[in-house]
């Protein structure tokens, strides 16, 4: 119960920290979305607004839920996505105004930016030439081709299932992170994938886009989607971007990010200065500053979650260990929690806690409970029955039994449960970047969007080192707390 109290306190604390006047700009976790959101952010900054960047959110659902929950004020969406994924409207060619009405009073669409980034099917230029494939219809002749699609594409109304139906395609498909799909085509493990028509990386990997000869894919005009409670001034400024970015401009900006490795910030600055906009030069963080900041955030997320998990887990464990039915329920429900994939658990947190650190901490907390509860219960239950008989027979009250005998005897198991929970949390926390919590997952998510292995490693290596360090520290702690003969039989799990 104490654990719950602390948790709700933490939630409130962090919620108040969200309540600033800055305009909060979201982006999805792919290259183009970063670029566009950075342009919007830089533009607003140059006009004197305070801006908070919540980039790299995991997909349409996360972004839109965050917008609904007023965790962000604006992000860039695509017309087709609004229609299919958000409004789930099958009627074709809804106008932007009609969509704005359907989105309700709180959410509105601004004028489109200009380019049309429709979904497309990409295939290697060489393969296409060899087999004379130029249209999506041509794929029907190659049912044994293996395809890899982003999970979003696999599940969208305007994604694979209906595409396959329209074109009569029957290929085997696998889900693959978009940032890795081109690499997979290059090394031959898949033959074609979903792509965006403005994708700067197509050239880099020598891929071509197949003609959508049955006009299956809807229009994907990029449109800013905003909360209507955003200031009219800010809305007017963002609306100035109307028609300013055409297909070519977008493709070139994407290529700059992916191939030439410019930072989003530089690309946005470039764009805005061409556009005769001046901008305050803001100081870019160095590599080490970023690493330090991400590591600090990572440690903060995991340590808050772990502390709460230890409290709650121990209390549950102590309470449940000698109550058969309750411990069954406790173990079952915390085990159930563990089976929810981490990214799904994070997504489930959004409607309740929004995006950012709070839902990430809550999710990590839920994950850390099981190993602690389980090890506490098995540690206490595993005590030699003779010792249990003695402890209740010699005149110790229940508190004394617990603190002087039972807990010390179960301590090896309890500690190893806490250690497991800590290591799991460090790993899982890298996913928290998908819901805007930052941490060492941030370079990983950005790196995936940019197909930049270097960037991915900048998150993955420190996260791995951190996990090893935590493991080491806990082993040290065990050495300090447990006498040598009590350490025997500790197993790493």
């Amino acid at each position: 119960m104490k654990g719950l109290l602390i948790l709700s306190l933490l939630v409130q604390l962090s919620l108040t920290s969200f309540a600033s006047d800055a305009i909060r700009i979201g982006s999805k976790n792919f290259n183009e979305s970063y670029v566009l959101s950075e342009i919007v952010a830089s533009l607003l900054e140059s006009e004197g607004f305070d801006v908070e960047r919540k980039f790299g959110l995991g997909g349409t659902l996360v972004c839109y839920q965050a917008l609904l929950a007023s965790e962000i004020d604006i992000y860039i969406e695509y017309k087709g996505t609004v229609q299919q994924a958000i409004l789930k409207e099958s009627k074709p060619d809804l106008s932007l105004d009609e969509m704005s009405v359907l989105l309700g009073e709180q959410i509105s669409l601004l004028p489109p930016l200009g380019f049309n980034n429709t979904y497309a099917i990409a295939i290697s230029r060489e393969v296409a030439a060899d087999l004379s494939i130029t249209t999506i219809s041509d794929l029907e002749r190659f049912p044994l081709f293996k395809a890899g699609f982003s999970l979003e594409f696999l599940n969208r109304e305007d994604g694979w299932p209906n595409l396959a139906k329209t074109y009569g395609l029957s290929q085997n498909v696998v889900g693959i992170e978009h940032g890795l799909a081109y690499q997979a085509i290059k090394n031959g493990s898949i033959k074609f994938t979903d792509a965006y028509s403005t994708d700067g990386d197509l050239k880099n990997f020598d891929l071509i886009i197949l003609d959508d000869d049955k006009r299956f894919f809807p229009e994907y005009l990029a449109v800013p989607i905003v909360r209507t409670d955003l200031s009219a001034e800010a809305i007017a400024i963002v609306s100035q971007l109307e028609g300013k970015i055409d297909d070519k401009a977008m493709r070139s900006m994407n290529a700059k990010a992916v191939i030439e490795r410019y930072s989003f910030d530089e690309i946005a600055r470039d764009f805005l200065s061409n556009d005769d906009k001046t901008r305050k030069i803001d100081q870019r963080e160095s590599f080490w500053q970023k690493l330090l900041k991400n590591t600090f955030t990572h440690i903060k997320l995991t340590s808050i979650a772990l502390t709460a998990g230890i409290f709650f887990g121990l209390i549950c464990g102590f309470f449940a260990y000698n109550r058969q039915r309750i411990s069954g329920v406790v173990l079952y429900s915390s085990g159930l929690m563990q089976t929810v994939p981490s990214i799904a658990l994070l997504a489930l947190m959004i409607p309740i806690f929004g995006i950012g650190e709070v839902p990430a901490i809550v999710a990590l907390f839920l994950y850390s409970i099981l190993p602690i509860v389980r090890n506490t219960i098995t540690g206490l239950r595993g005590i030699d029955p003779v010792l249990k008989k003695v402890v209740v027979s010699i005149g110790l009250d229940e508190r004394q039994q617990m603190y002087r005998v039972l807990i010390p005897l179960a301590m090896p198991a309890i500690l190893s449960g806490i250690k497991t929970a800590a290591v799991i949390s460090i790993g899982t926390a890298t996913l928290a970047a998908f819901i805007g919590a930052g941490g060492l997952g941030e370079p990983i998510v950005t790196g995936l969007a940019l197909n930049d292995v270097n960037l991915i490693l900048q998150g993955a290596i420190p996260a791995a080192i951190l996990a090893i360090l935590v493991e080491f520290l806990f082993s040290l702690l065990e050495r300090l707390i447990l006498k040598p003969h009590m350490r025997q039989g500790i197993t790493l799990n």
């Binding site: 010792l387 209740v392 005149g395 004394q400």
Partner: protein
């Protein structure tokens, strides 16, 4: 003869199993009583009812004339020494910490505790050097001597020994057997030894209680048990011993 423990019309079930039905027993004060029975005879349950780990479903159990209630449970337990098979020492505590655990928990003065531990160690012939050791570094016999010290720490007037010697090697067992009787004389406490071994029971006990399937078979002096066994079960037990 005054009784240390009395069972009157005791009923006790564990789960669906009825262990005692209308069970009556008196354990005399100031002597060693041996309780003999096979496993499953109810002797462990009997002990747990005496030291308040379990409570009777109905009937009364008294220790030195006083019924055990949930209110006086801790007080009663501290007046009863308890030692088990394999000594049951807590592995995270040294021998000395094991002996002093309850005394420290209830706030006895450390001077008194120290003196008392020295007296007890001498009484059970335990080298005081060994007291700083953890249980795993002691032999089986040494562990059981520590266990006896722990049982006697608060100078109890009743000492329960639950199969205390059964996991010891024969030589150590014989050595401890020969020390139990003088120990009882020195403390003049009532000692109850539970054993499945009738030869051990007869060797140590001045009063023998034979139980089978929760029923009292015979409660008698060792001489009478041997010369006048009540029934075939006692005869069988005796024959198995020779």
């Amino acid at each position: 003869m005054k009784n240390a423990v009395e069972f009157q019309n005791v009923y006790k079930s564990l789960g669906s199993k009825k262990v005692f039905r209308d069970f009556n027993l008196a354990i005399p004060a100031g002597v060693i009583t041996s309780i003999v029975g096979e496993s499953g005879s109810g002797k462990t349950t009997l002990l747990s009812l005496i030291n308040g780990v379990g409570f009777a479903d109905s009937g009364s159990i008294s220790v030195f004339g006083q019924a055990i209630t949930r209110e006086n449970l801790l007080q009663t337990q501290r007046g009863i020494g308890y030692a088990v098979q394999g000594a049951g020492l807590f592995p995270h505590l040294t021998a000395e910490e094991n002996i002093c655990l309850v005394a420290r928990s209830i706030g006895m003065k450390s001077d008194w505790i120290k003196k008392r531990v020295g007296v007890l160690a001498d009484l059970v012939n335990l080298d005081q050097q060994l007291l700083k050791n953890f249980p795993h570094a002691l032999s089986g016999g040494q562990q059981q001597r520590v266990g006896l010290c722990r049982a006697m720490m608060l100078n109890p007037s009743l000492i329960l020994l639950d199969e205390p010697f059964s996991s010891l090697d024969p030589i150590t067992r014989r050595a401890l057997h020969s020390e139990i009787i003088p120990l009882q004389k020195a403390t003049s406490a009532t000692v109850v030894i539970v054993s499945h071994d009738i030869s051990e029971a007869i060797k140590l006990g001045q009063w023998i209680v034979v139980i089978k399937e929760g029923a009292l078979v015979q409660a008698d002096s060792p001489e009478n048990i041997i010369s006048r066994p009540h029934n075939q079960y006692v005869v069988d037990l005796l024959e198995a011993m020779s």
